[in-house]
C-alpha cells in the first residue's frame, strides 16, 4: 500500500505543479482538466490514508427549519436586517444553528414559492425596497410588516440598526438568564451608539442603558425617516404589483428612470 501511496503522492505533486503552471499562464481549460484529475487523485489518497472524514456540524435544533429560524429572529428584531445580524440574534436568543451561507438564496426561494402559489404560506421572508423600489442588497424583511417598515430611505439603515439594538437590549431585559452570546451582541451594538464608547467588549454591559441610548439617538432621526418611508411606501403601493411589493421591482433600465424619484438623473 505504501508503494501505491508514494506513487499517488508523486502523481499529486505533478498534477499540482501542472495546475499552478496552467494558472500562471492563465490557461483555464488545462487547469480545469488537471484540477479534476487532481481532485480524483487526492480522493484516492485520502481514502487510502485515513478513515472517512466526518462532515462537521449536525443540525442542532431538531424540527425548526431555516426559514422558521429566520422568521423568529426577524420578528424579534422588528426591522429589516442583514444575514449576519439574523444569525447572531438566532444564536443569542433562540436555537441558533443558522449559517449566513444558508440565507443567501432564501429570498429567491421565497419569491419562487410566492409566484407559484401566491399567499400559500402564512408568511414570507422578503426583500426591503430601496428608493428605486428595487430589492435592497442583503436585507431581509417579513411580509407581515407594513410597507412603511419594509422600504428603506437614506436614514433607514441607521434607524433600523438602532431599532434592532433596542430590541436586542429589551429582549435581554425580559429574559431570565441571558446567554453569553446575547450579552456579547448587545455590547457590540452598544459600542456603536453615542454614549456607548465606554462599553468594553467582554465586560458586563447594562442592556437597559443600551436601549436608552439607542432610543435617544433614534429620536433624532425618526421624524425624517418616517416621512421618507411613508412617501416611498405610497409610491410602492401605487406602482408595484403584489410580487414586486414583496420582492422588489427589477432594476430600472435607462428608459424609464426619468419618471422616477425626486433625485432625477442628470445623465
Amino acid at each position: 500500500m505504501s508503494d501505491r501511496l508514494d506513487q499517488l503522492e508523486r502523481r499529486i505533486d505533478e498534477l499540482r505543479a501542472g495546475v499552478r503552471r496552467a494558472m500562471r499562464a492563465r490557461d483555464a481549460v488545462t487547469a480545469r482538466a488537471l484540477r479534476a484529475d487532481l481532485r480524483a487523485a487526492e480522493r484516492t489518497w485520502d481514502s487510502l490514508v485515513s478513515s472517512p472524514v466526518q462532515t462537521p456540524g449536525g443540525k442542532r435544533a431538531g424540527a425548526t427549519t431555516v426559514r422558521e429560524r429566520v422568521h423568529q429572529a426577524l420578528d424579534a428584531l422588528g426591522a429589516p436586517a442583514q444575514p449576519r445580524l439574523i444569525v447572531a440574534v438566532s444564536e443569542a436568543f433562540f436555537s441558533g444553528g443558522l449559517r449566513s451561507a444558508q440565507l443567501t438564496s432564501i429570498r429567491r426561494d421565497e419569491e419562487r414559492s410566492f409566484r407559484s402559489s401566491p399567499y400559500g404560506r402564512p408568511y414570507y421572508l422578503c426583500a426591503a425596497l430601496t428608493d428605486r423600489l428595487s430589492p435592497a442588497r442583503g436585507l431581509l424583511t417579513l411580509s407581515a410588516w407594513p410597507l412603511e417598515r419594509r422600504v428603506v430611505g437614506p436614514l433607514s439603515p441607521r434607524v433600523d440598526f438602532l431599532t434592532c439594538a433596542a430590541a436586542v437590549a429589551q429582549h435581554i431585559q425580559r429574559s431570565a438568564g441571558p446567554s453569553p452570546e446575547s450579552l456579547r451582541l448587545v455590547a457590540r451594538m452598544g459600542r456603536n451608539i453615542p454614549g456607548g464608547e465606554l462599553v468594553e467588549l467582554g465586560k458586563d454591559v447594562d442592556p437597559g442603558r443600551v436601549a436608552e441610548m439607542a432610543l435617544a439617538e433614534l429620536a433624532v432621526h425618526l421624524d425624517r425617516d418616517t416621512r421618507d418611508r411613508a412617501e416611498l411606501a405610497a409610491r410602492a403601493r401605487e406602482q408595484l404589483d403584489d410580487p414586486a411589493r414583496l420582492f422588489g421591482a427589477a432594476l430600472l433600465s435607462a428608459a424609464n428612470v426619468g419618471a422616477l424619484g425626486k433625485e432625477g438623473i442628470t445623465a
Binding site: 503522492e9 505533486d13 499540482r16 505543479a17 495546475v19 499552478r20 503552471r21 494558472m23 500562471r24 484540477r35 481532485r39 487526492e42 489518497w45 485520502d46 490514508v49 485515513s50 472524514v53 466526518q54 462537521p56 468594553e200 467588549l201 467582554g202 465586560k203
Partner: protein, 475 residues
Amino acid sequence: MSLLTSLAKLRALQEGRAQPIATVRHCHLSDRPMVFIPLKLSGEAAAPLAAMFGTDRQAPQLLVVAQPRNRDLRFAFTADLAGLLLPYLESFLADTETVERKNADPYERALDAPQLLLPNRAGVAFTALLGRSTRFRRTDGPYPVPEGVPLLGRWLTYLAERAAYPGSSLTLAVTEELSRHWASGQSALEDANLAALMAWVEGRPSDEAEDPLVWPPAGPATDPGFDSEVLAPAIENGSAERITEALRTQLEPTWRLMWQAADLLRTLPEGASVAQRWELDRGSYSGFATQLAEGGPPQARRDGAVAAASRLSRMERAQASYDVQRAYDDPLIMADHRLSGEAFAGEVVQTEPDNFEGEGRSRKLRPLVVVKTDDPVRLPPGSALGTPQRKGQGAELVEAAGGLVTLKITKGMGRGKTPAPGSVPEVGERVCYTTLTDDFQGAATLPEPEATPWTHGGPPLEYVPNDDDAREAWE
C-alpha cells in the same frame, strides 16, 4: 551601500557568482542553533499556519494549524510550540559564570545562549507579532490559554527585539547575514529571497529560485498559487494529514537551505570581536531570564518617552561600536574607510622608537613611525588614530605628504624610557591606522522615567497589563 560593495556586485553579475565583501564572519554561530521557519495565513496579521523548526538538521519538527481560522487551534499551536521551544530557550540557563561589577552587585551570566535562525527579516517581524499576540494572554479568567503561551510570547518578543540590536546574534535573519558577507549580482529586494541569494553564493544563479513550484517562498507568506490550488482545497476537505503534508512540501526546501546557509557562514573564520559581542548577548539573555523569574510584567505595548529615548541611544551606540569593531576585525571592511580617507594602510619604512617630546617633568616618550601608503589620506595633522594591529594603542598624525605618513605613538607603548617590546611596529611591517575608535562617550544623560517632562507626555503610568490585553480577541 559602499562603493566597494557596489563594485563587488558588479563583479558578481559579471562572473555569475556572489563575491565576498567580508573576510571573517561578523556574527556568532551557535553549535546548536534553533532553525525556525514560521508560515502565516495570508491576509491575517499574526495567524500562524505552520512552523518547521529544530536544532537537528536530520530531524525537523513540524507543527501545523489544521484549521487556521479556528482560534482555539491557533492557541493549541502556540502551546505546542511553547512546549518544544521553551526547553531549548531555557536550557542555557544552568551553566553560568559570576561577573563582578564596579559599584554594583555581581551577577550570574550564562556561559552560552540560545540562537534563533530565521530565513529573512519578514520572519523576524512575524516572530515579533506572534510574541505580541500571545504575551498578554492569561492562563486563567474568561479566555484562558495553555500555560506556556504567554511565556513563549515574552521570549519571542525579546528575541525579535534583539534582532534589531546591532551586533546581536541571538536572533539572525539568514538572508541578512549572507548579504553582510557576500555581494550577489541582484538587487537588495531580490536578496530577500533565500533561495535566490543562496544560488548566487553557490555560484549557480537561476530564475528557478523565483519559481514557487521549484522553491517555495521561505515564509512567512506562502505562495498564493499554493494557497488557492493546494491549501484551500485541503482545508475544505478537512483532512489534517493532507494539510500537514501540503505544508511540509512548502517548508522542507527552506529547511535544507537554512542549514546550508549556516554551513556557508561557518566556512568563514569568526571575527575577533564576535566573542565580545556574544558576551553581551549572553548577559542580556541572563538578564531577561532573571526578569522572567522575578515575575516582571510582560513587555509594554509601547515604550514611554524616556525608555524610547534611552533605547534609541543604546542602539545608536551599539551600531557605532559594531561598525568600528567590524572594520578593526576585517581588512575588507576597513577598506571602505581607506577609500573614503578615514584610514590608511601600508608598509612601515622608518621608525624612531625613542623619540621624546617636551622638557623636564613633561618630557614624554613619543615613538615616531613613517608609513608608506597608496591610500588617499585626507586627515589633518593632530588627528587621533587607532590601529587594528595593536588594539589599545593610540597615535597622532604628524604629517602626511607624497604617500608618506608620519605619526607618533601616544598611548599603549608602556611607561618606561623605552617602548615596551613589540609596541612600535618594525620597518617592513604592514600596518593600518584609522580615526575610527571604539571608545564612545557614555550613555546619554536622560531623566529618570518619573521625571519625564510634560513635553514628552509626563511620567508614564507604570505598565500593568490589563484585562483588555488579556482578552483582546484573536480572531
